[in-house]
Amino acid sequence: MSGTVGGAAGVIILASAVLLGVRRLMVPRAREITGPADYLILLLIAAIIITGNIMRFGPEHFDLALTRAYFGTLAIFGNPLDAPALENRVFLVHMGLALVLILCLPFSKLLHFGGILFTHQLIRRQ
């Protein structure tokens, strides 16, 4: 069950990312204000989604239980280096990119995902 829902989400989110990219390229008022950083962040997100989907739908199916074990080791400050999850190369890429994304959050415009919650409030006060 959760596998089906997860799979569907993976497809939908990929479609969304592609549509966002298409909109950015096709709508002039968006394209003309787009800089390298905007494309890079979109590519990064797309890459994460694609690697995620490869793991799920790809030929060597990746067992979710392995990630659970991996994060479990991390949580108790164990040595994660010999966790079996790390033997899967796609997982390594996927995980690495996700870490880059998290690293980028505070430095990039992606802050907007938080800002949307309170900018209107803040502006009204000033």
Binding site: E32, T34, G35, P36, F107, K109, G115, T119, L122
Partner: protein, 446 residues
């Protein structure tokens, strides 16, 4: 100083101002950090509507500041430069800034539609403030600020001109109604101190006549006053980004209100003047506690109309009339119903234009109205949407409550050869109000 030193100096000033943003208001930093570059603001902007070019895209204009902010204030910008959309300052671009930052009317319509409420007018004003520090404010604007600080009004009119104008208006009103209607000057202890834009004294004085008639009819002719030195609420410091000028100009009016010992500062039909007084000066307590309150003349008149204290003869204004919400009243101060109450009571055929109120499109002038050097830009680009909107109503008369809007709209109608009269809200009232049971003998106006 050699040429190089000057360049270095300019660079220091600009970078210093950019770095200072870090210690400034939180909202400004968010505006710079979270723009998603979605382009929604462009659909809301009258300038971009007039011409869909990159240069006129709000997010592109403010990206000039954003790129520098990233370069000098963020780690990613310093490390990754262009990859993080950061850019070094190139002083050669300042000449272009002088044009670009004066191609935004400051209407704040973008902020209403941006999912994050990003207000490009605030960032644009920052750009202008930097120019002003460098002495690079466009000459036309500089001139108005200088005149205003020297004489207390943006038209540079002296006391004699003011008194002559008042005398003329009193004669005019006596002719219209057959009874003397006073405009008191420089009284101390009058309850209301009326602060119009000087345009409503010297260019479109009917609005001031309307106010005088309201006081007269209410039997309050002794309860108000104007000042022979301070009769212009307009404040160009708001437009050039120079806070010091804005506050100096503002302080003079607050002091004058105190000298007049007035209980109410009655702001005239001038959007930005009202906004500075009410939403900025009073709210942020620039000068501490005030011994008076601030009200707009439209709120005041509308209240008396609703209370049934004024009688009006609508048939005096039979032509179709529409109302243009000045951005500063409609969007920034929430004064939208009062002008409609006055107009509906004064005109037989009042028509809305769409969209209206807070969502109304800017006249295309705003703080730029005084700039004759960009006349063509205002007529063909920034004013285009407004023209279409007005024509769609079929009205032959546009009433609005702002000197800048009036100036821009009058020019717009002339430029596009439309027989549409532009005037104030109290102008329409002045023609319809009954004084001693009689409306003004209709003469040929305009």
């Amino acid at each position: 100083m050699s040429d190089n030193d000057v360049k270095q100096d300019v660079k220091q000033t600009v970078i210093g101002a950019i770095k200072a943003i870090r210690n400034g208001p939180r909202a400004m930093r968010l505006y710079l950090e979270i723009c998603a570059k979605c382009g929604t603001c462009a659909t809301a902007c009258p300038v971009y509507y007039g011409r869909a070019e990159r240069r006129y895209n709000p997010a592109e204009r403010t990206d000039i500041i954003r790129r520098l902010y990233r370069r000098y204030c963020t780690l990613s910008g310093r490390l990754f430069g262009p990859l993080a959309d950061a850019k070094d300052l190139d002083p050669a671009e300042l000449e272009e800034w002088r044009k670009i930052f004066y191609e935004c009317t400051g209407c704040r319509r973008c902020a209403l539609f941006c999912p994050f409420g990003i207000d490009h007018s605030v960032i644009t004003r920052k750009g202008r403030a930097i120019l002003d520090k460098l002495g690079l404010t466009p000459e036309t604007m500089k001139k108005v600020v200088d005149i205003s600080l020297r004489t207390g009004n943006t038209d540079g009119a002296g006391e004699a001109a003011f008194r002559a104008a008042i005398e003329f208006l009193e004669e005019e009103m006596e002719e219209e109604h057959g009874v003397p209607i006073k405009i008191p000057i420089d009284r101390v202890g009058a309850e209301y101190f009326y602060v119009p834009p000087s345009g409503d004294m010297l260019v479109n004085p009917e609005a001031t006549m309307g106010i005088a008639k309201v006081f007269h009819v209410l039997g309050m002719a002794d309860h108000w006053t104007m000042s022979s030195k301070f009769f212009d609420g307009a404040n160009y410091g708001l437009f050039t980004g120079n806070d010091e000028h804005m506050k100096t100009d503002n302080r003079a009016y607050v002091e004058e209100t105190k000298r007049r010992k007035a209980r109410v500062m009655l702001m005239g039909e001038c959007g930005h003047a009202h906004r500075i007084m009410k939403m900025m000066m009073e709210k942020s307590r620039w000068w501490g506690d005030l011994p008076f309150e601030i009200t707009n003349c439209m709120q005041w008149t509308a209240e008396h109309i609703q209370a049934g204290r004024l009688e009006l003869d609508k048939s005096k204004n039979p032509q179709p009339v529409t109302y243009h919400d000045p951005c500063n009243f409609g969007r920034s101060c929430g004064i939208t119903e009062e002008p409609r109450i006055i107009l509906q009571a004064s005109c037989a055929d009042f028509r809305e234009m769409y969209p209206n109120r807070a969502e109304n499109w800017c006249c295309g002038g705003g703080g730029l109205s005084a700039m004759d050097d960009i006349h063509q830009f205002r007529m063909e680009i920034s004013g285009r949407k407004k023209l279409e909107q007005i024509l769609a109503t079929g009205a032959t008369n546009v009433a609005t409550a702002c000197s800048n809007c009036k100036h821009q709209l009058t020019q717009l109608m002339e430029y596009h050869q439309q027989q549409i009269e532009v005037g104030g809200v109290h102008d329409m009232l002045s023609r319809a109000i009954l004084v001693g049971g009689k409306a003004a003998e209709r003469k040929e106006y305009t």
